[in-house]
């Protein structure tokens, strides 16, 4: 895939790289502990404002915990939750989508009805109920989000599968004597991967927001974890007075989701399978065809052999 440098998503890419690095190197970057605070240091405003200190550049919350450090560590939670949730639901949803699309018939109808039911569930409500019933924990949040997310993958991948199935090379693989498993894994799946990447990337934003919302509602990642949603919730009572407790995690979330969506858009534009590569044409003419002189034009003849 040849791409000019000015087309690359610099902004989005930079933010995402920063996010990943922050998450990985959190312990080295965060000036203070994210979970332990000095209660005597509570509600200090960000540096540069009246009462602010260099030691707490973004201020402290009501327990005296450093906001900057919490935001930094919070990136880990957002990243890990989204990766796990997407990994789980993506794998499950893709597998179901592939099978459903390829087999068609009753299997397809049944699976897609399940997916439809899944899609029509009021997400937040169900999430709240499920987590409240089971008790807030890291694993449960991941599981619940995965449970809500798989139908999106399944439906989209099924659609792509149907399209790929129409291609002649699938019928020819059957004529070649190949099993369904082979065809799905070697023919359909690789052609479905670009769509999968795009969906996954676009869902990351949604997952982060969802996790944030759940944490905000108190049914997500439990305190004292520095989840961004939790921080926003905790700052609710202080919006007028200590607005920085809510603002900074909110900004972090905004930037991340924005970057992820931009990246997803870019991927979708560039992984469009309709873009056919006519790069260097293989010099594949044999000696059996009328000999042509060295002066023949080299390089691609764009689409010249079309119908």
């Amino acid at each position: 895939m040849r791409v000019r440098s000015r087309e690359l998503p610099w902004f989005a890419g930079a933010i995402l790289i920063a996010l990943v690095l922050t998450a990985v190197f959190a312990p080295y970057l965060a000036p203070q502990s994210p979970t332990e605070g000095d209660i005597t240091q509570k509600l200090i405003p960000p540096f540069g404002m009246e009462g602010g200190e260099a030691g707490h550049p973004l201020g402290t919350d009501r327990f005296g915990r450093d906001v900057l450090s919490r935001v930094i560590y919070g990136s880990r939670i957002s990243l890990i939750v989204s990766l796990l949730a997407i990994g789980l639901s993506g794998t499950f949803g893709t597998a179901l989508g592939l099978i459903s699309g390829y087999r068609g018939g009753l299997t397809d109808s049944l699976l897609m009805r399940c997916a439809d039911i899944g899609l029509s569930l009021p997400t937040i409500l169900i999430a709240v109920v499920l987590v409240a019933v089971s008790e807030p924990s890291f694993q449960n949040v991941v599981l619940v989000i995965s449970f809500l997310l798989w139908p999106r993958f399944a439906r989209q991948i099924r659609g792509e599968t149907l399209a790929v199935k129409e291609q002649d090379f699938v019928a020819l693989a059957v004529v070649a004597g190949r099993s369904s498993t082979w065809i799905i894994s070697r023919h359909i799946f690789p052609n479905v991967v670009p769509t999968l990447l795009v969906i996954s990337t676009l869902q990351v934003g949604y997952v982060i927001l969802l996790e944030g919302t759940l944490s905000f509602l108190g049914v997500g990642v439990p305190p004292p974890n520095p989840a961004w949603g939790l921080m926003i919730a905790e700052g609710r009572g202080f919006l007028a007075t200590a607005w920085w407790i809510t603002l900074f995690p909110g900004l972090a979330m905004l930037l991340t989701v924005l970057a992820v969506n931009l990246m997803g858009d870019w991927l979708r534009d560039h992984l469009d399978p309709k873009l056919r590569q006519v790069g260097s044409r293989a010099e594949a003419e044999p000696a059996t065809i009328e000999p042509v002189p060295e002066a023949r034009p080299r390089g691609a003849a764009a689409g010249a052999d079309g119908g």
Binding site: R4, R281, E285, I289, E290, P291, V292, P293, A295, R296, P297, R298, G299, A300, A301, A302, G303, A304, D305, G306, G307
Partner: protein, 331 residues
């Protein structure tokens, strides 16, 4: 012929400017067409025949494409110098187009009555009963039976062949002087194609419209064209009356093409292949574009562009190997 020609195209050049370079889709095309004549533009994909047609009506996709040179004189007026407003009045009224795919030429969400009326209303400024009459007669002219019932039907209720007739009816509804048909029968069944071509000839005889027919099928050319222009790599390499060109193909490309086409009537005569690939229009070699594949290539062909040679009776070929023949009384 003493009557002035309807259409005169002089040295038309249309290039596409992309990051990869300049693609010379049309590179110096000239021809004339008289009223009531059918001229076929023949060539393979990429030869520039479709872009030539788009250039005539100035619908070349911009900004990548641009007509960089030439004149297109319709009844004496140069279309390339007209304003967008003036061109809009020309399209539909003086020049109409019928395209290859009848599925996408018609709007699936509108009845065909609406679609035909749209054009008539725009150019003829008719309303009410007069409009309806005109629409019905346009449909009937293309032998669409039960036209009054079909006015309220949608494109999907028509077969491919009928849809093509509807498209053509739309094109012909305002009595244009010139009809450009770009591969109108390629997606139709062979017997439906025969129907359509008959119809086209009938309509032409009745209305005196000139037709430019773009095709890759020499069979169609032989069947209905009065004159034919063979295109290769953006240029017309041979042009003349159909009979002349078939009887005496004067360009190696034309000869090669005619020899490599299977003919249902002639059985299993061996097909002589044309080696190599069609050229890359953004990297054309010096000299004749067909030279690399030409079985009669000489040294000069690879260096210099061949001259236009007259082989008599208005039959022209662009080739170093063709010997000029002057017929008595011709220029």
């Amino acid at each position: 012929m003493a009557t002035p020609p309807l259409l005169v195209v002089e040295d038309l050049k249309t290039h596409f400017f992309t990051r990869r370079g300049v693609t010379k889709a049309v590179d110096g095309v000239s021809f004339t067409l008289h009223a009531g004549e059918t001229m076929a533009l023949v060539g393979e994909s990429g030869c520039g025949k479709s872009v030539t047609c788009l250039s005539l009506v100035r619908l070349v996709p911009e900004p990548a494409g641009r007509i960089v040179a030439g004149r297109v004189l319709l009844e004496g007026e140069d279309l390339l110098t007209k304003s967008p407003g003036e061109m809009r009045r020309v399209r539909g009224k003086k020049i109409a187009m019928v395209l290859q795919d009848p599925m996408t030429s018609l709007n699936p969400a509108l009845t065909i009555g609406t679609q035909v009326s749209e054009v008539v209303r725009l150019h003829q400024k008719l309303r009410g009963a007069a409009l309806r009459e005109r629409v019905l007669s346009a449909l009937r002219r293309l032998r669409i039976s039960a036209a009054d019932r079909r006015l309220v039907q949608y494109p999907h209720q028509f077969s491919g062949g009928m849809r093509q007739r509807v498209s053509s009816a739309i094109g012909l509804s305002c009595e244009p002087r010139l009809l450009i048909a770009d591969e109108p029968t390629t997606s139709l069944d062979v017997t439906i194609q025969a129907q359509y071509l008959e119809l086209l000839k009938e309509v032409q005889a009745a209305a005196g419209v000139a037709i430019i027919l773009v095709t890759h099928d020499f069979g169609i050319v032989a069947a209905i064209a009065d004159r034919v222009a063979v295109m290769y790599a953006g240029r017309i390499v041979e042009m003349g009356t159909t009979l002349e060109v078939f009887n005496n193909p004067s360009h190696p490309y034309t000869r090669s093409l005619l020899r490599c086409l299977p003919d249902a009537g002639l059985g299993r005569q061996k097909l002589v292949e044309i080696g190599g690939q069609p050229p890359d229009l953004s990297r054309l070699p010096a000299g004749c574009p067909f030279a690399p594949r030409c079985p009669e290539r000489q040294a000069i062909c690879l260096e210099q562009s061949p001259p236009t040679v007259s082989v008599g009776n208005g039959h022209l070929a662009e080739c170093w190997a063709t010997k000029p023949v002057s017929s008595p009384g011709s220029p």
